[in-house]
Symmetry: C2
Subunit: 213 residues, 2 copies
């Protein structure tokens, strides 16, 4: 089983502090989005990196539609800067339309689950990254440009927890370096979250599902 | 070098026939989008599969941000249902915001290139899939659920042309089965375009860049 954790993801509701700003008021969605709210965000602490639901969206589309997930060997968690952890049912089909995806994330962060009735497809809990990682079995590999250079194929173990930053640049906010068994860099340039997600997933598939040379 | 061709992609401007429909008039973007225009699209031939710029967007984000592209070993082409081929400069950074991406696609389909001045990052030419494929060197592999079951690692050759459908369901519209050297199915379920894109790219990287066991 691979557990995939998108850590310190820049997904949040619009903070109270900027809710009245002219660049924010006009929009219906209450999810912070730097491509819409960048003017208001200048006054937010860490505003230069916040408001990136697009990174979560693309990473989820890559992960949840993968062969690994279809084979039942993947579990995905979104940990946010606000210490919310979103648990995703492996059966979930991620909405492809970005606007609708943000609507779903808003509902999830406001109500704690979607859909409101029946079996939850996504559930949001107040949890730190440390609390989440404690529960997951497998070797904990943190992907970071700060890590030792390594190749996916060699790193992957059958039970593995892959921790990937869900933010555009900068470093992890959570004290994640203390929680990882290994810190690995797979490339000499910074890669977007979803690129590391796809590298991890396909390399795992090739090693443990297709058992390719 | 890997040439990646997204074939018969469902990317187009809103057809004249439905331009006056109430479900279309309210929107600024002139790119057909089934998540907005589905009511109007019922009267279009093949309307059940058309208007999927999201598939092109996600596939491009996956391909252009990959390690393979950063290593200069990937060329990407979007062939559309209207027989336009979009040539993408490998240096292009794909806009992550979906709304803005559609704006760019509109500009590209209306004016033939973006940006309007200086070196083109994307260029749209009137070309059939056959005309495009004729120009590309390498073994032509068509990915289709109709193909022979095969594994990415075994299929990949150093010079390869991967042809992947850029549509949500149904079959290719272009006579592509006659143009391919091989027709391959990598999984027993239909996969979204970007999942096949990422499987192809990472398997190629592992074989020819990282040369992993």
């Amino acid at each position: 089983m691979m557990h995939l954790v998108l850590a310190d993801s820049e997904l949040e509701l619009i903070p109270e502090k900027i809710a009245g700003h002219p660049s924010v008021r006009g929009y219906r969605s209450r999810i912070l989005d730097s491509s819409l709210h960048h003017n208001a965000m200048k006054s937010l602490k860490g505003g230069y990196r916040r408001g990136r639901p697009d990174i979560v969206h693309i990473s989820l589309l890559v992960a949840m539609e993968s062969i690994l997930n279809r084979e039942g060997m993947l579990r995905v968690y979104i940990h946010t800067r606000g210490d919310t952890v979103i648990y995703i049912n492996p059966e979930t089909r991620i909405i492809k339309n970005y606007g609708r995806f943000k609507g779903l994330m808003q509902q999830l962060l406001e109500r704690g689950r979607v859909p409101s009735n029946g079996e939850a497809l996504m559930e949001a809990r107040n949890e730190t990254l440390a609390q989440l990682l404690e529960k997951l079995d497998g070797r904990k590999i943190l992907f970071s440009p700060e890590g030792k250079r390594g190749s996916m194929g060699e790193i992957m173990e059958e039970d593995v927890v892959c921790i990937i930053g869900g933010f555009p640049h900068g470093d992890f906010l959570s004290p994640v370096y203390d929680m990882a068994d290994e810190v690995v860099s797979i490339y000499h340039e910074v890669l977007p979250a979803w690129t590391v997600v796809m590298e991890a997933i396909v390399s795992y598939e090739n090693k443990f599902i297709f058992r390719q040379p």
